[in-house]
């Protein structure tokens, strides 16, 4: 399954151009289980890219881990979820030098979270390569209580923190790496549109 094509939206909605090898540059790669596929594709386009790469797999199956291992990256780390991965990402970013390429692959939640950490560490967004693979679930922030709900696949959805029914917007906060959810029935309490699956 290649890089997901999202339907055109507002200009601020992130788009993901896909991963392209930066050759001999040092690399930091972060991917989830579906995104690991994109790393394999990257390695088959340029096997040497793995010689300089630290790979961090988030919530990946053992089998996926094994597949990446056979690509012989310079370093390979695993974490069960984004929260557990965050300190490691901070460490990799803080030890990295200018010229390091950042490759992110997988869900929008993962890419949004890691790119927010990276831009917070001073890396310009343009220097981050991203490729969307797998679920189109979103990481949503409730604009009312500021709580973040992971893996949102329907619109509207219920905020896992304050319980409001939220409309899934294409507005994205790059600083936080989340889409914004807004109360759908603020004016007409209880009048909630039909729930539909989020589409790409």
């Amino acid at each position: 399954m290649p890089n997901t094509e999202f339907s055109p939206s507002i200009d601020s909605r992130p788009t993901y151009a896909g991963l392209v090898s930066q050759g001999a540059a040092h690399g930091i790669m972060v991917a989830d289980d579906a995104g690991a596929e994109a790393l394999c594709d990257l390695a088959s386009s340029d096997a040497s890219v793995m010689d300089h790469a630290h790979v961090l797999l988030v919530g990946a199956a053992a089998e996926t881990f094994g597949r990446i291992e056979t690509l012989n990256p310079r370093g390979l780390h695993g974490a069960p979820d984004l929260a557990a991965a965050t300190p490691l990402i901070h460490r990799l970013l803080s030890e990295a030098r200018m010229g390091t390429a950042l490759y992110l692959a997988g869900s929008e939640g993962l890419m949004g979270h890691v790119s927010a950490l990276a831009t917070g560490a001073g890396l310009p967004l343009e220097a981050i390569q991203m490729e969307h693979r797998g679920s189109i679930a979103r990481r949503m922030q409730c604009v009312h209580c500021k709580g973040i709900t992971e893996d949102v696949t329907t619109d509207p959805f219920t905020c896992s923190h304050c319980g409001l029914t939220l409309f899934v917007r294409d507005h994205f906060s790059r600083r936080l790496g989340v889409f914004q959810g807004v109360c759908v029935d603020a004016e007409t309490p209880g009048e909630v549109p039909e729930t539909v699956e989020i589409r790409a």
Partner: protein, 315 residues
Amino acid sequence: MRKLALKVTEIETLSPLVKRFRFEDPKGGALPVFSGGAHITVEMPEGETIRRNSYSLISDPYDGSGYEIAVRREDRGRGGSRFMHTQVREGDEITVSSPANLFQLDLRARKHVLLAGGIGITPFLSQLRQLGMEQKPYELHYAARSREEAAGLKLLPEAAHIHIHISEEGARMDLGAILDGQPLGTHVYTCGPDGLIKAVADQASRLGWPRTAVHSEAFTAPPPGEPFEVVVKSSGKTVTVKADQSLLEALEAAKVEIDYSCRGGACGRCQTHVTACDGRILHNDHWLSEAERAEQKTIMPCMSRFKGARLELDL
């Protein structure tokens, strides 16, 4: 643009070619504060012409008690810097614009590397204070030909992360050594001659720095040249640009409305559409691309001049 009528309160010779000027509100009022890297435009009336040059502010951005600039005397210029050096006295009144900033620090950066060549030290003097105040990590490298010419030496604090490179003493600035191995998230800022700016951009791209982490400011005062004429399309009026006048200054003197900010070919604000051009535009700006220059459909009146039979501007 808002103008401020100020008083010259201090003039100090920093080097044979560079003087420092301090301006204050005549009634002692507070001036608008600014951010590191900002500049003001100074009006220099001489006879019937008013020249306007922009200079980086070198004083503390958080200090509204006065503005300070450092002016290098360019004897082959239009006469603006010579006017500052020879005509302006302490106690004089002087009109300046309120500060504008085209060379801001990217405060998301994890570290800032500042590279100055010669008089290009000026914007960094205010940025240093901002970085110090915000406690951001930085290093500054200041390159000059000789100690005598290095006007910035008197204005720089002594600090471990401030490095002076005097080429006459064999201590040239080694860009490779400076840029290699900087931590991820570093931004580099260069101000100085075009050659230095280009060398930094080349070195940074060789090391894989993202282009958006590389900043520069090359602003020079407009050069003099041969006089020429320009036609203003809306009124059909012909305006003569004198040898020691910029096109922008000539248009202003003819009361043609035109927008500007840096007056040094760096901000893009004065960009003007050319409706007829029989001749060659002498592009002196840092704004237009090579392709745009070749087209001769746009001109930056703050810097550029013309040689030929007819130039008509969409004004």
